[in-house]
């Protein structure tokens, strides 16, 4: 049993037991701690033990600006007592999440109409807002990604534009501004950037297409069309560019389609349904270092993990407010060190997990 501190609240949690659900080879049944009404002071921190020495552990929860701040000194505490706490930005309805090369966690928040940047290393926080800019207002930021220079790309489904910000948060440019009354996008959602080939991929959900553009926003080609066949879409949403693979969530066909970057269809994962291994409301996607595909299911409030053949390996999460629970989860991101970030939208937080792959011959993990 291990005690550790979790986030700003310094609530003591106990690390014990197996709390993530696995299917088939899972080591315990579904059981997350936590009551229905409020987060209890002591809960079991999720840890999933998987075959081959793999495991997935809960790392931390991020809900507001205070989570990145250093411990306050005496005079700051005095100032807090005399003048009250300063205003802290909070996650309102986090939707998309990404981590850049510096480990900063960047969250799109349509509820706050902006983007949160949590820099834990530097203990700094920044909020990006452009709601007052009438020419290019950031109204409903959705999916978010970064390029090799840590420039931030975020789609806005309401204004129909793709916003690009520099790594320091300064506005860079916008792609998809209206031209003669019609924009590039009807409803841009998913976004992925290929820094090597200088390409930007954006899903236009209402057009059932993925647009492939150069970095200036000129459309070079499109992938897909409306339909149910392979390579066709029915309201595509999230995108993930992983190596030579382009993964797209085909939301209303209840599957994830995998293409080559040139648009060639490779394979698909998922089938409709609300049972385990099925997709009901697929949202965010990610891929870990072992090539497992993580798919968030918004309504079922869980994350399902598939292998490349579409077999369900395990899942974690259930509907609730306790640690490891989700309520309408949306975006998901996995960084190069297999940290798994899930935008727990209705719980107004980002939950970070850590996946430990199979140990190497000497016990080292990849």
């Amino acid at each position: 049993m291990v005690q550790f501190l979790l986030g700003r609240r310094r609530t003591k949690f106990l690390l014990s037991g197996i709390l993530l659900n696995t299917l088939g080879f899972m080591s315990a049944g579904p059981c997350f701690g936590g009551g229905k009404d409020k987060i209890p002071n002591v809960v079991n921190v999720p840890e999933l033990l998987l075959p081959g020495g793999r495991k997935l552990t809960f790392e931390r929860s991020i809900s507001d600006q205070r989570d990145v701040q250093a411990k306050k000194g005496f005079w700051k505490k005095v100032l807090d007592v005399v003048a009250g706490d300063p205003y802290y930005h909070k996650l309102v309805r986090p939707y998309g999440v990404v981590s850049d090369s510096h480990g900063r966690i960047i969250v799109s928040d349509p509820g706050a109409k902006g983007i949160h940047i949590f820099d834990f290393a530097a203990q700094k926080y920044k909020f990006i807002s452009r709601i007052e800019n009438k020419e290019a207002a950031l109204v409903s930021p959705q999916c978010i990604t970064v390029d090799a220079q840590d420039n931030i790309y975020v789609t806005d489904s309401e204004s129909g534009m793709l916003f690009v910000f520099r790594a320091d948060g300064r506005f860079e440019r916008v792609i998809g501004s209206l031209k003669k009354g019609e924009g590039y996008f009807k409803r841009p959602t998913g976004v992925a950037v290929d820094s090597v080939e200088q390409r930007v991929y954006v899903t236009d959900t209402l057009r059932n297409k993925i647009l492939v553009m150069d970095m200036k926003g000129s459309v070079l080609k499109t992938i897909g069309k409306g339909g149910t066949a392979q390579g066709e879409f029915n309201f595509p949403t999230e995108l993930l560019l992983q190596g030579d693979n382009l993964l797209a969530v085909d939301a209303m066909n209840f599957r994830v389609q995998v293409f080559r970057k040139d648009g060639t269809f490779q394979y698909a994962i998922g089938q409709p349904g609300d049972g385990h291994g099925m997709m009901f409301r697929p949202k965010g996607i990610g891929m870990d270092s072992e090539g497992h595909v993580y798919v968030v299911d918004g309504v079922s409030s869980l994350v399902q993990v598939f292998d490349k053949d579409g077999n369900l390996l395990y899942y974690f999460g259930k509907k609730g407010i306790a640690v490891g629970d989700f309520q309408l989860p949306a975006g998901l991101f996995i960084d190069s060190k297999d940290h798994v970030f899930v935008a727990d939208m209705q719980n107004r937080r980002i939950q970070e997990f850590h996946y430990f792959g199979a140990p190497g011959p000497a016990g080292a993990r990849p």
Partner: protein
């Protein structure tokens, strides 16, 4: 040198308060059933005031507000709120009182989730600012104490008649700034309503009773009554039922009793009236309506209108009176743009020992359409009325025309209406007049908008020279991203009544109504500015200058006033640095008292707490 006992106490209280706020920031549960929330602000500062006919002084002052809310067992069982405030005014907070007001507002709802919900509310204000009205102009400033209390209860049981009972009472003791006159207004009212549906009939019974007392400020004329008492009771019963052709028919019987005592006269009366309505929609484009109304005391209904407006009646009703009317109309919608209405009515009225009857026929045509990029609307009403008591006929006209559209960056709109020989409540009286309004605005720069507006209206009673009203208003505003400013000019004159709340427009032509004659005229100019020029800093300021005259038999009064307020606030976390200034100047020549002026300043700091 150590702190005095008084300041040590304040220091300890402050530290304890800060500590409480720092440690308790959530809803508090008292026992197992009571849940409480409390937040509020505490303020301290320095204020100074001086003026003519006004006590001067300066020194430290304190104040604050609180918001205590909670519930017992469940919010649907009992919920309540209490909001006390201390020394709040325009110069130290967002309160709108010109004087430093203190008091409390409180209310509770019980059994809110049941079939028998009830409520009660209470408010008490000390040294609050009130108003003394002149129609069409900014209010003169008064200050005093006021208290209200209300309670109500409903029965909402399914399949039972729905019932609601309410009781309200209030009192206000005030003085108009710049006079040595004090006044008060007291009222009590009781109401009960029962409704049910029986065999498809919607039935409703209603009872209202009100008592009022007013001591009028002696600003106008010593011939005016100094006090006025009145009471009124009304019982009404309504039944309605749907009829073929998607129609509805209803009938209402009403009985009222009223009584008044002005010191100069007193009287009482009873009124019975019956009204029946029927309307059908034989086709989607056609609506037919018919109305019948009878009252056995026409003059009594006019008295009630005066009493309802708060005015005093100074003579008793004369001979008996009655009124009967029957009217019908047909509305036909030709298309989205055109609509025509045909109307007719027959009226018979008896008062002043005479009988007066009329027959009217006419129609209305209205048109609305998009025209040259704007929206155009036009309405023309023509009514021919034949009076049987003199054999003459009269043509009544009403014309209304409006247009709005944008010309490039300019947004414009204009409306004009003209009416002539319009029938009033009494067959013998008609009125004529016009009204207009126009707005012009455009975007200025990137985030600013400028607008200009003008409006006016005039209404006169035919053959009753000097009775009517006229007002005009001009306004201009400029709003930007961070700051807004506006200026306003008003001018008005007409016939009015003296009421406890000031001068109110007369609701009826004078010759038939035994009210003290009062003519008012005045004009005012005001401008205001406010905004948030930089983050955390807000400010607002206004200046109003107003003057008017009120004339009554043997008395004429020139009234003038000036009010300037400024308030700024800088917020740092939950600390607020406040500063404000107020200047008021007001005088009434009819009182024989010199005008009074007062200037006051405030600078202080307040802290908002979320206690629990």
């Amino acid at each position: 040198m150590g702190l005095s006992t008084r300041y040590r106490g304040w220091l300890l209280l402050s530290i304890a308060t800060l500590g409480l706020e720092a440690t308790a920031k959530a809803q508090v549960q008292v026992g197992s059933d009571v849940q409480l929330n409390l937040n509020g602000s505490l303020a301290a500062g320095y204020s100074a005031s001086y003026g003519d006919n006004f006590p001067s002084g300066h020194g430290f002052t304190y104040g604050g507000t609180a918001d205590l809310s909670g519930s017992y067992y469940d919010p649907k069982f009992l919920s309540f709120h209490v909001n006390p405030y201390l020394n709040q005014s325009r110069e130290n907070s967002n309160f709108q009182s010109i004087t430093s007001a203190s008091g409390v507002n409180a209310g509770a709802a019980i059994f809110g989730g049941s079939e028998y919900p009830g409520w009660v509310n209470f408010s008490q204000t000390f040294n609050g600012s009130g108003t003394y009205a002149v129609p069409g102009l900014p209010n003169y400033v008064a200050n005093g104490d006021a208290r209200t209390f209300g309670v109500g209860w409903s029965e909402l049981k399914p399949n039972w008649p729905l019932a609601t009972v309410t009781y309200q009472q209030g009192t206000s003791d005030y003085s108009v700034f710049g006079t040595n006159s004090t006044s008060n207004v007291h009222y009590k009212s009781f109401g009960a309503n029962v409704s049910d549906i029986v065999a498809g009939f919607h039935l409703n019974g209603n009872y209202q009773h009100g008592d009022s007392h007013a001591d009028y400020p002696q600003l106008i004329s010593p011939l005016y009554p100094s006090k006025f008492d009145s009471n009124n009771s009304t019982f009404a019963f309504t039944g309605s039922h749907s009829i073929p052709w998607k129609g509805n028919a209803s009938a209402t019987f009403t009985h009222s009793d009223y009584a008044y005592d002005s010191g100069l006269s007193n009287g009482s009366g009873g009124i019975n009236s019956v009204e029946a309505n029927a309307g059908v929609n034989p086709s989607p484009k056609l609506t037919l309506d018919a109305n019948m109304y009878y009252t056995d005391n026409l003059i009594g209904t006019l008295y009630q209108r005066i009493l309802g407006a708060g005015g005093a009646v100074i003579s008793t009703p004369g001979s008996s009176s009655s009124s009967f009317s029957f009217s019908g109309s047909a509305v036909y919608t030709i298309n989205d743009r055109w609509r025509v209405i045909g109307r007719g009515d027959h009226r018979v009225q008896t008062y002043d020992t005479g009988s007066y009857a009329s027959n009217s026929f006419g129609g209305v045509v209205s048109y609305v359409n998009v025209l040259r990029g704007g929206v155009f609307n036009f309405t023309q009403n023509v009514m021919e009325t034949v009076f049987n008591y003199n054999g003459q006929s009269q043509l009544g006209l009403t014309t209304a025309i409006g247009y709005s559209r944008s010309f490039g960056p300019w947004n414009t709109s204009g409306n004009f209406n003209f009416f002539e020989n319009q029938q009033t409540l009494l067959v013998m009286y008609q009125n004529s007049g016009y009204g207009y309004s126009a707005t012009l605005g455009r975007k200025v720069g990137y985030k600013s908008y400028w607008s200009l507006g003008a409006s006016g209206a005039k209404s006169l009673y035919n053959n009753q020279s000097g009775w009517g009203y006229y007002n005009q208003n001009y306004t201009m505003s400029l709003t930007s991203h961070k700051i807004g400013a506006s200026a306003n000019y008003n001018k008005s004159n007409g016939n009015g009544l003296l009421a406890g709340s000031g001068v109110v427009p007369t609701p009826l032509p004078g010759p038939i109504i035994p009210v003290p004659e009062l003519v008012y005229a005045g004009e005012s100019f005001s401008f205001g500015v406010g905004g948030q020029p930089v983050r955390r800093l807000t400010f607002s300021g206004s200046y109003t200058r107003y003057k008017s005259s009120t004339s009554a038999p043997s008395q004429y009064s020139n009234n003038t006033g000036e009010l300037a307020t400024f308030y700024m606030q800088y917020a740092f976390r939950r600390l607020y640095f406040n500063a404000g200034y107020t200047r008021i100047f007001q005088g009434f020549s009819g009182t024989g008292v010199p005008p009074a002026s007062a200037n006051s300043y405030y600078a202080g700091i307040s802290r908002w707490f979320n206690f629990f």
